[in-house]
């Protein structure tokens, strides 16, 4: 049985079962894979495509002819073209729009999404390192990083479980802990509730040690 995160003289400590650490580490790896696939999709390696690129504009004009040409001219006048949000629900939740207006969001995404992806991948990798050891021990600097990784796992699981409002979240919490999980969904629900509990204990401990207000 796992023991919650608690503050120590040198950071935070939680005792987790070997299978719990392994599962969390695997979930981190899964989210890393999702983010890397997105990176490959939107920033493909330009290797071997250089000769084609010289004619990209020409081909775009040929293909576009009427309406396409007008659009191209609009782009030339204004800002760079934007980047569309990921189609996958979980990825879209991990990499949300930064503006309500679609065009503004796409332009912002072109500028910032790569940095968000890189931060998340680095966080999840660091969390995997921390999960190699029992007890899981985090310094004051590692704690927020581990906490962000737990949050990304929870966002991903929540999206797969279809948690869209408070009632959905309640339902998942009620359904978990009823005994052995028989289906993938029940297993994911167990993982969601476990990760939620672990993150809650970590941030409660972190809030307790934040210096009081001046």
């Amino acid at each position: 049985m796992a023991r919650a995160f608690r503050p120590t003289t040198r950071g935070y400590k939680a005792e987790l079962e070997t299978h719990e650490r392994r599962l969390l580490s695997q979930l981190c790896a899964d989210v890393i894979t999702m983010l890397q696939q997105r990176s490959q999709q939107v920033d493909p390696e330009p290797a071997g495509e250089a000769p084609d690129d010289e004619f990209a504009h020409f081909r775009a004009e040929l293909a576009g002819l009427g309406a396409g040409l007008d659009e191209q001219q609009e782009h030339d006048d204004g800002a760079e073209p934007g980047l569309d949000p990921p189609e996958d629900q979980a990825l879209a939740r991990l990499l949300p729009d930064g503006a309500a207006d679609q065009q503004q969001a796409a332009q912002l995404r072109r500028l910032t999404e790569a940095s968000v992806r890189e931060t998340k991948i680095a966080d999840l990798r660091a969390a995997r390192m921390a999960l190699e050891h029992d007890p899981v021990t985090l310094t004051d600097e590692q704690a927020p990083v581990f906490g962000r990784a737990l949050n990304d796992i929870r966002l991903t699981l929540a999206s797969r479980l279809g948690i869209e409002d408070q009632d959905d979240a309640e339902r998942i919490h009620q359904s978990a802990g009823q005994g052995a999980a028989a289906t993938t969904e029940e297993f994911m629900a167990e993982l969601y509730v476990f990760t939620t509990w672990l993150q809650e204990t970590l941030f409660s401990a972190m809030l307790d040690v934040l210096p009081e207000d001046e």
């Binding site: 991990l94 990499l95 949300p96 729009d97 930064g98 503006a99 309500a100 503004q104 969001a105 912002l108 500028l111 910032t112 940095s115 968000v116 931060t119 998340k120 966080d123 927020p144 906490g147 962000r148 949050n151 990304d152 929870r154 966002l155 929540a158 948690i163 869209e164 409002d165 408070q166 959905d168 979240a169 939620t196 993150q199 809650e200 941030f203 409660s204 972190m206 809030l207 934040l210 009081e212 207000d213």
Partner: protein, 101 residues
């Protein structure tokens, strides 16, 4: 007198300079939206540690997000607001940029 004319010109130049400085720096809001996944303790911690809000202010903003569905957690020049929105996304919070009215 030349001093008066000089001061009038200076004032006009000043107005122009201020106008030019104010326009591109129109303030932007950083809006955080409610979602059923992010924990209250987590959101309050992010508001305190990232924005440096007091515990009372962080709690107040967190509750505003929770009950009203959204809250303006910071305001400033566009570049700073973009940076803040990106940071909120790194923390997994749903945040958007909004031009101040």
């Amino acid at each position: 007198m030349s001093t008066t004319a000089g001061s009038t010109l200076t004032r006009e130049a000043q107005d122009l300079a201020e106008g030019a400085a104010v326009l591109p720096q129109r303030p932007y809001h950083v809006v955080v939206w409610n979602d059923p996944v992010n924990l209250m303790s987590y959101v309050a911690w992010v508001f305190r540690s990232y924005f440096g809000h007091s515990s009372e202010r962080a709690h107040q903003l967190m509750m505003q997000v929770h009950t009203e569905g959204r809250a303006v957690v910071a305001s400033g020049p566009r570049e700073k607001a973009e940076q803040d929105v990106t940071a909120m996304h790194s923390y997994g919070l749903q945040a958007t940029l909004e031009e101040a009215e």
